[in-house]
């Protein structure tokens, strides 16, 4: 009820400002609410609370799943004021013209955004760019643009928020031997105890990592397969499925946590916070670095093209605040990585920074932002330092040109 009221007065206010030509808005005393569309994983209450305390602007989370975020961005671009989506979905969203290019001149820390996004390098070294690497889609040709720019411009499609490099999660206590390759996912040793995620565009990339690791085929671009390559990848999956390799497929975060925690599955595609969630239960679980590298993903903030006036200003305030360190430190402590490392470092304790970012042994117990024990003193983070982890990226979550065909073949795998 109160939300409705604020929205209504807000609309009235905005309309009034537009009518009088007072633009941008100066009615700072009036309450602004930003509707933030994204996945629940990124929508932390603590972040919204802290932002409100700092600026008085209210964040209203609209939580849906990854696919639904894209669907809404494409089909109902007026249902949100701030979009938090993954870079690979841009190939679907940007051609609709529903996104406004973000003016980097209004973003204080724009030039400090990690080079992983702008040039695709970590510590000067290029990382894998197969798939929808952010550097390919981060710049637009102008504020109103339906095309990606080839070289850096003033206009960004998404300002990066969080990113990570995914790999296999394992139960070291049940496997009892070292795991170092993606090929292990389809190793018959784990028959009936493996799982892969049932989100076609991501699942097929994990499968491609396995196919390459087994030496079956080397893809020119795992993130943009030809029909023959899709056929080959799905064929490998179907053979494994028919042989009873998979205990289950999973679609959401909690499913993957439950499969692992209950011991139904001992090796599976996994996301970093899911591994953390298993560990918090006191069950050993490793986010296993593998020699073939990681499949990376990245999310960022976008602005709908219709956003204007006070809400637009508030959205810029939020993005600037987000890159200013507090939120970055918060995300880093959850095991994600933040876009501007320098500001986040300033808001983290030295021992925390050493553990999370430098891959050093924890000098004291490492706790999550909610105070849960994540790692005991002396332990080191899976995957090592930022450079080791991000430098090990082999490919990025992607949207293929043959997406329709791929989804169709994926359904064949599920039906097999």
């Amino acid at each position: 009820m109160t939300q409705d009221n604020t929205r209504r007065t807000l609309l009235k206010g905005t309309a009034g400002i537009l009518a009088t030509g007072m633009f941008p808005a100066i009615h700072a005393q009036e309450k602004v609410v930003l509707r933030y569309l994204g996945t629940a994983v990124n929508q932390d209450k603590a972040i919204a609370d802290k932002f409100k305390a700092d600026t008085g602007i209210e964040i209203q989370y609209v939580a849906v799943n990854t696919d639904e975020v894209t669907k809404r961005a494409v089909t109902s671009p007026n249902s949100f004021d701030l979009l938090d989506t993954e870079y690979f979905s841009l190939k679907k969203i940007v051609p609709t013209g529903n996104l406004k290019g973000i003016d980097t001149k209004k973003i204080k820390n724009a030039d400090k955004i990690t080079t992983l996004f702008t040039t695709g390098t970590v510590a000067g070294k290029a990382v894998g760019d197969q798939g929808t690497a952010p550097k390919k889609v981060i710049f637009l040709e102008g504020e109103k643009s339906k095309a990606f720019a080839k070289a850096p411009t003033q206009w960004m499609s998404l300002i990066p928020t969080v990113y990570n490099a995914d790999t296999l999660g394992i139960r070291p206590d049940l496997i009892k031997r070292p795991i170092d390759s993606w090929a292990e996912l389809l190793n018959p040793e784990f028959k009936g105890k493996a799982a892969i995620l049932n989100i076609p565009s991501i699942g097929i990339m994990d499968a491609a990592m396995v196919v390459e690791a087994k030496g079956l085929y080397k893809y020119p671009d795992k993130g943009n397969m030809t029909k023959q390559e899709i056929d080959l990848t799905i064929k490998t999956l179907i053979e494994a499925k028919k042989a009873g390799q998979f205990r289950s497929l999973w679609k959401d975060f909690n499913e993957s946590v439950n499969l692992m925690a209950s011991g139904e599955v001992v090796i599976q595609s996994m996301w970093s916070p899911a591994v953390t969630a298993v560990r918090v239960k006191g069950i050993p679980c490793t986010f296993q670095p593998l020699k073939e590298g990681y499949r990376a993903w990245a999310a960022g903030f976008g602005l709908p093209s219709t956003l204007s006036g006070k809400k637009l200003d508030a959205a810029y305030v939020f993005i600037n605040w987000f890159l200013d360190g507090w939120a970055g430190a918060y995300l880093n402590r959850q095991g994600y990585y933040s876009a501007v490392l320098e500001t986040a470092k300033a808001k983290m304790e030295a021992y925390e920074w050493a553990y999370w970012m430098e891959g050093k042994p924890a000098s004291q117990d490492i706790k999550s932002p909610n105070g849960e024990l994540l790692a005991k003193a002396g332990s080191t983070r899976d995957g090592g330092s930022y450079e080791q982890r991000m430098g090990g990226i082999a490919c990025w979550n992607a949207l293929m040109d043959e997406n329709t065909y791929m989804v169709q073949k994926w359904n064949e795998f599920v039906a097999a």
Partner: protein, 293 residues
């Protein structure tokens, strides 16, 4: 025709409100789905058109029966679940309804037992489904019991994420939909018919088969329609209990909509609708529902 009838507003006006609701919420969306199913497939735009590509995609390679296509396999698997769930819920629902209607004498006890049957329905569908997971899992209660009693050497794997667990959950979720209409039909059977059958020397089984079953057929039919149509369109139960490894028509549609492939999804929905409608028509052939009700 009596006077009072002539005095009211004309018949078409009386039918208008419901007809409008029907057109707005049922006919219009259905026509839209039919229309979109003929549009060309495109990732981020809906371009109107009139092509049969989507249907061609769905049925591509389906002529070869030696190696059935995804569509046929999926429908076959969904149909099998429908049949299995239907058969089990029918037997269970009928047996429970029979017990309630003919063995429980007092109305108070009948009402009480009927309410007991509905208690599980006070929680959500999803919770009732998910609660099977800790029971049937590899380290679940059932397996622990089997191992503890020495009935099995190692955990039984087919209990969970299998056809068995899917059918079990369907039965658990939907027996009520079978029970209620059958119970309702049974309660309307004239008790003197049963006495007459007994007087004429019919055995218990003969009475059941020749009197009660025929007179409960409307309830059986309604229950069957409920169960079959729900199972045909389900994708959540098959997904969760089948470990996402079993295909269902609903799941295919859901995956396609989540990838914005609305035309393909619409075409699939039209095919599913056609299949379900033919099942209902066939069932109606067996019992003339409108005359019997």
């Amino acid at each position: 025709m009596s006077r009072s009838h002539e005095a009211g507003p004309p018949a078409w006006l009386q039918a208008l409100p419901f007809a409008a609701v029907f057109v707005f919420f049922f006919v219009a969306p259905l026509v839209l789905v039919g229309a979109v199913s003929l549009w060309p497939t495109s990732d981020y735009e809906l371009k109107p058109g009139f092509v049969f590509d989507n249907y061609a995609t769905i049925f591509a390679g389906c002529a070869n029966l030696a190696e059935p296509c995804v569509t046929l396999k999926t429908y076959w698997s969904t149909l099998r679940f429908s049949l299995a769930a239907w058969a089990v819920t029918l037997v269970l629902g009928f047996a429970i309804a029979y017990f309630l209607a003919f063995h429980v004498r007092s109305t108070a006890a009948q009402t009480l037992l009927f309410v007991v049957c509905t208690i599980p329905f006070w929680t959500s569908n999803v919770i009732r489904m998910v609660s099977w997971l800790p029971l049937l899992g590899r380290n679940g209660l059932v397996n622990q019991a089997l191992l503890g009693l020495g009935l099995a050497d190692q955990p039984v794997e087919w209990l969970l994420f299998s056809n068995f667990s899917v059918v079990l959950t369907f039965v658990h979720l939907y027996t009520m939909f079978m029970l209620v209409p059958i119970f309702n039909s049974m309660m309307r059977i004239d008790r003197s018919l049963l006495e007459a059958a007994e007087d004429a020397g019919a055995s218990g089984w003969q009475t059941l088969w020749n009197v009660i079953v025929p007179l409960s057929r409307t309830g059986i039919l309604i229950g069957s329609i409920f169960v079959i149509t729900i199972v045909m369109g389900d994708f959540v139960t098959v997904g969760v209990m089948g470990g996402q490894q079993i295909a269902s028509v609903g799941k295919i549609i859901q995956v396609q909509t989540s990838y914005l492939q609305f035309p393909l999804a619409a075409a699939n929905a039209v095919v599913l609708l056609a299949v379900v409608l033919s099942i209902i028509v066939a069932l109606n052939r067996m019992v003339d529902l409108r005359r019997e009700l």
